[in-house]
Amino acid sequence: MNVLLALIPVSILLLVAAGIAFFWAVDHDQFDDMDTPALLPLLDEPEPPPAPSREPPP
């Protein structure tokens, strides 16, 4: 049963680490936009947009 004495603290540590990571993610806007990221893999490699044509036509 001694292995428990090692594994239980590890499980608690992992739990706390997961909790902290999640709180960090929530506070850093990771869950504010749940729609766009799903689209990103569908995109082609973004080409650098042609700089001179940035000005729109009148």
Binding site: A18, L43, P56
Partner: protein
């Protein structure tokens, strides 16, 4: 995203029959409906963001191409105008929250983030699709708010910078806090269950006391944050309802959580028989999941503040003493100022018209479809649209004193006065908890006489085995499932108790314009009158055949359409739309006469389109022409157009279905009696009220309710908002105004009235399942509690029984909507249905 050839590539609206503009995107020409859409599509392509068209799931909003929007955009560069909306961060950094109208699907979010992110100087863009808000930070030295707003307008969105107070984003804080609570409860519940299963196994394999205690303390360790952090909303809610001297849903829940946790803690401390940290964590987690779903539905429905921002214009053109115009923020106007309102712009403040007459769309007051004529001295209200102008207004009341603000206040008051039903399930659960507590007390007292040693264990067993979990879960489990099923069918339930009220309702009150009809006029019938010049011929149709022939239907439609394109009047718009398929002709010298019609020269002939009196220059005419729009030349009438409002496609079916369901249906409209009567006859509705102002509609509601009726109100307009807020169940159309949606319980996202009858069926099913669940929980408890009280239930069995009874409740709830699944439902739910 394959656009069919008949729909605009950008916004999906129907294409004009001739002269279809082409937008060149990624080297391919696509047909679009208007030049606004062409500009938007090509601008998106130039930014290198044409992928938007591949990613989106909903067509874009029709780009307005309005010049005043463009002008508003440039005005944001002036600091004195922008100071209300821009928040200064350190140094040159600035921040603003922009409400983005037309944001419909995830691809829009992507497009906006890319388009703005590519602007030099923009440091951060965060788009919240459900709130339709973008939070933007930029470096003032390299970028301006004006450029940001302009970029959004170019891409086809309407951008409204919100007051700086909006930066204090209460919704964002609320959803973040809820998410954190949920995840803490989830982690805690999983981990507590793991430690508890070791204890349950230990109960069979004679675990030694120190290991058992270790696992108990571990359980305590993970359950503590769940109870003290995650479950805090329940405790706060319970406290609130106790202060208001009610037994709400939160009271039994909070009591159950507190008692089980406290009892388990005592047991752990004194090394007693059993602890229930796993049960309490699971319980909290399940309940939070339900709350979370409910919150998301609520956030989707929009809020009152945003609704006001959409209606009242941000800027006004103040007339200086010398007659020149100066642009000021609408918030800076004072009573006595004179403002100039251009055609197509909104009136910035309440006031009186000075100078030339104009026509304004006052749909926000009356819901009326047609614009009304105003003469000098007449009152104009803030937020109404000048359809034909310009208008010059002497400002009388601004800000909180305007009629518009008054309507908002009416909405807020009606909301607080709404008859709050104590949900039957809540009442039952509260009563049940009271009885369980009494029983637990009896058990404790009884055992203290018989065997004081076992009193605590037996009491705890009664508490846990009879735990109101199944009871408390009976309501949220059924409601959560019902919300999900209804959302899939295009019915967004904002306030869950509406489900119960929906079933008990006895009356449905419909608004007319925009709800039963789709807000546009349509040409119902064209009558060709051969009274015109017999020698008349269509331009470009030279040839012997047509010289002496009377004009054909197609000819008159083409002529009227050509004239009608010269005006934005709703009648003209309807005729122009009707003539889309007809060949175009060239019109010269178009002139609009307010309250009369349009006059122009086509192929050398002077033609008039409008009221009979105007078109015929006061000549005698048949009474049949009185209600029609007449096309005439100098020799007499050529044709008459009969217009009517277009009923929504499913209005008739929906009304019939609701009536078959036993509801009394009536119409309450701000429109004129004749129009309301016509629609009522077509839908076979006996009771209708016309010319109803918001306060009249509320009074009508009060009368109905005084007779014991429960009323479902269905509406879309600003003038419906107070009624919606005061009704037992308020249903708003997703295409309607924000204000109506913000004061409603249910939003019809698919714009399908027919979904309402279906929603009632689901609601009825939900209540049936809910009652089953409660009966099951009661029966289970009646069987088990006596054993628990006698001390015959081992603790692991008590916990198992509790989990199993809760599981049965949840599984039963999943049956809701299973029969209804076969009916076709909208494949995906757009954030905002096309307006």
């Amino acid at each position: 995203m394959s656009a069919s050839a008949t729909a605009c590539w950008h916004c999906g609206e129907s294409l004009p029959a001739v002269d279809v503009p082409q937008a060149v995107v990624a080297g391919v020409a696509h047909p679009v409906c208007c030049h606004g859409c062409r500009a938007a599509a090509e601008w998106i392509d130039q930014l290198g963001l044409a992928d938007y068209y591949r990613l989106r799931s909903t067509p874009a909003r029709r780009a307005s191409g309005r010049t005043d929007a463009r002008r508003d955009a440039t005005d944001w560069s002036r600091p004195e105008l922008a100071r209300h909306v821009v928040h200064r961060l350190d140094g040159d950094r600035r921040e603003a929250v922009v409400l983005v109208d037309g944001l419909r699907c995830a691809a829009c979010v992507w497009l906006i983030e890319r388009a703005l992110g590519a602007l030099p100087g923009v440091a951060g863009v965060q788009v919240n699709a459900s709130a339709r808000r973008a939070r933007i930070t930029w470096d003032d030295a390299r970028c301006t708010l004006a450029r940001i707003v302009e970029t959004l307008e170019r891409a086809g969105y309407r951008a409204l910078p919100l007051d700086a107070a909006a930066l204090d984003d209460s919704r964002r804080r609320e959803s973040r806090a809820a998410l954190k609570r949920l995840i803490v409860a989830g982690f805690g519940a999983m981990q507590a269950m793991m430690y508890a299963s070791a204890l349950y196994l230990g109960a069979f394999d004679a675990m030694d006391a120190s290991t058992r205690d270790l696992f108990r303390w571990l359980g305590l360790l993970v359950a503590t944050p769940v109870v003290f952090y995650s479950a805090r909303p329940f405790f706060a809610g319970a406290l609130r309802s106790l202060r208001a001297r009610r037994l709400g849903m939160d009271v039994p829940v909070a009591l159950a959580i507190a008692l089980i946790y406290a009892a388990s803690l005592v047991e752990a401390l004194r090394g007693g028989a059993e602890v229930y940290f796993d049960s309490v964590s699971m319980f909290v987690f399940f309940l939070l999941v339900g709350r979370h779903l409910e919150m998301r539905a609520r956030h989707r429905a929009g809020d009152l503040g945003d609704a006001l921002a959409r209606l009242a214009p941000m800027f006004a053109d103040r007339v200086r003493a010398d007659g020149s115009l100066e642009r000021v923020a609408a918030a800076d106007l004072v009573a006595g100022d004179r403002v100039h309102v251009a055609e197509g712009a909104c009136v910035p403040a309440d006031g009186a018209l000075v100078g030339a007459p104009c026509r304004v769309d006052e749909a926000l007051l009356s819901g009326e479809s047609a614009a009304v004529s105003k003469r000098a001295g007449d009152a104009l209200v803030a937020g109404s649209l000048v359809v034909q102008g310009p208008a010059r207004v002497r400002v009388e009341r601004i800000g909180a004193d305007t009629v518009l603000a008054g309507i908002l206040a009416l909405v807020a008051r009606a909301q607080t006065e709404r008859p709050r039903l104590a949900v039957a399930g809540e009442r039952a659960a509260a009563g049940f908890v009271a009885r369980v507590l009494a029983l637990a007390a009896v058990t404790a007292i009884g055992w203290s006489f018989v065997d004081p040693q076992r009193a605590f264990t037996a009491t705890l067993a009664v508490l846990v085995v009879s735990c109101p979990c199944a009871f408390a879960l009976a309501v949220p489990a059924a409601f959560t499932r019902a919300l999900a099923v209804l959302a899939r069918r295009g019915v967004l339930v904002v306030r869950p108790d509406a489900i119960e009220t929906l079933v008990t309702a006895t009356h449905v009150v419909f608004d007319k314009t925009g709800t039963l009809t789709d807000a546009h006029l349509a040409v119902e019938r064209v009558e060709v009158i051969a009274g015109g010049d017999p020698g008349f011929a269509m331009p470009g149709r030279e040839g012997a055949a047509s010289v002496a022939a009377p004009p054909t239907r197609d000819d008159v439609v083409a002529l009227a359409g050509a004239l009608a394109r010269g005006s934005r009047h709703p009648v003209a718009l309807a005729i122009a739309a009707f003539s889309d398929a007809a060949p175009t002709c060239f019109v010269e010298r178009v002139r609009a006469e307010a309250g009369g019609g349009l006059e122009g020269v086509i192929d050398g002939r002077r033609l008039r389109l409008g009221h009979a009196a105007f078109a015929l220059r006061g000549a005698a005419h048949a009474a049949a022409l009185e209600d029609a729009v007449v096309l005439a030349d100098d020799n007499g009438p050529i044709a008459a157009f009969h217009l009517s409002e277009r009923l929504r496609a499913d209005a008739r079916v929906a009304v019939a279905a609701l009536r078959a369901d036993g509801l009394a249906v009536e119409i309450s409209s701000g429109d004129a009696a004749t129009k309301v009567a016509a629609i009522a006859t077509r839908l076979d509705i006996g009771t209708w009220h016309a010319r109803q102002r918001p306060a009249d509609k509320l009074a009508r509601l009060a009368t109905l309710r005084a007779d014991g009726a429960r009323v479902i109100a269905v509406g879309d307009g600003i003038n419906d908002a107070p009624v919606l807020a005061g009704a037992d169940v308020a249903v708003a159309m997703a295409g309607g105004t924000e204000l109506a949606q913000a004061s409603s319980d249910i939003v019809l996202a698919g714009e399908q009235l027919g979904a309402l009858a279906g929603a009632r069926t689901i609601a009825r099913e939900t209540l049936a399942i809910l009652r089953q669940n409660q009966r099951w929980a009661l029966a289970y408890n009646l069987v088990v509690v006596p054993f628990g009280a006698l001390g015959l239930v081992p603790p692991w069995l008590a916990a198992l029984g509790m989990s199993a009874s809760s599981l049965v409740v949840v599984l039963n709830a999943l049956r809701i909507g299973r029969h209804a699944e076969t009916t076709p439902a909208p494949a995906s739910l757009p954030l905002e249905a096309p307006a």
